[in-house]
């Protein structure tokens, strides 16, 4: 029995939702970052799965986009973590509930 695209998409949706859960419910900024990274990984999984289950293309678009996406995610993680450190220095906390200077 070979798996269908559906299976991968559902795995990806589950991963995405878990990432969302982490991003929404934790207070620590790093958790939120982890959650976002998980959501990005889920998106990448989608790219790859769709690429794999569709007719061949030249160049392999899904793969390419996944690579770019990983690169961007890395950049995002770097900046995000740097922000966490900077914020921590400034406020002595990484609890996002306390970070509401943008409150309207």
């Amino acid at each position: 029995m070979t798996p269908t695209l559906q299976l991968f998409l559902i795995i990806s949706a589950a991963l995405f939702s878990i990432g969302l859960l982490a991003a929404l419910s934790r207070r620590h900024a790093i958790f939120i970052l982890i959650g976002i990274e998980m959501m990005l990984a889920a998106a990448n999984l989608n790219f790859i799965a769709f690429w794999r289950f569709s007719p061949q293309s030249q160049p392999p678009t899904g793969v390419m986009i996944a690579i770019f996406s990983i690169a961007i995610a890395a950049a995002e993680a770097a900046v995000g973590l740097a922000l966490v450190i900077a914020v921590y220095r400034h406020y002595r906390t990484t609890n996002v509930d306390h970070l509401n200077q943008l409150k309207g």
């Binding site: 695209l5 559906q6 589950a14 790093i30 793969v63 996944a66 770019f68 973590l81 450190i85 990484t94």
Partner: protein, 160 residues
């Protein structure tokens, strides 16, 4: 590629991800996150995207996870216990998952099996990067540089 392998890896991945999302200790969560990423990489392998899987392992587990650990260490004083989850977030996450699953199951066109394809060699990826994707590549390079500099600026100690 067999369903059994996929399902086993998926269960492992998702369990690790769930642990990452709910464990109270930040350090444990980070390790679980790394495990989950390994699982995703394994899925990539199964799907025949070995290169991407490797990149994922290198970039995430080699760089991002380590970075996270460093950050945890740097902001150690604040790393206490965090709450596990709240109901609002959980509700939303479940709702989104339900909605997505419903959409996936309802869509007929995704219930297909994988066609037979040629392997994607690193060479082909390299060629594509240098031809069709040369502009995006440059942009991402620029972005990474900017992120690098930006991160440095952010974390540099302010001179009094």
């Amino acid at each position: 590629m067999s369903s059994a392998a996929v399902v086993i890896i998926a269960i492992l991945t998702l369990a690790a991800a769930l642990a990452a999302a709910t464990l109270q200790k930040l350090m444990h969560a980070t390790l679980s996150f790394a495990v989950a990423l390994v699982g995703v990489a394994a899925l990539f392998f199964l799907l025949g995207a070995e290169f991407v899987g490797l990149v994922l392992v290198f970039v995430y587990i080699g760089a991002v996870a380590v970075l996270i650990v460093f950050t945890i260490l740097l902001t150690r004083r604040d790393v206490g216990k965090d709450r596990a989850a709240n109901w609002g977030g959980a509700f939303l996450a479940v709702a989104v998952f339900g909605g997505l699953t419903w959409a996936i199951l309802k869509t007929q066109s995704v219930a297909v099996v994988a066609p037979h394809i040629r392997l994607v060699t690193v060479k082909r990826i390299g060629e594509a990067l240098m031809t069709s994707y040369v502009w995006p590549l440059q942009c991402v390079g620029l972005l990474l540089t900017a992120a690098l500099i930006g991160a440095l600026v952010l974390v540099m100690e302010e001179k009094p």
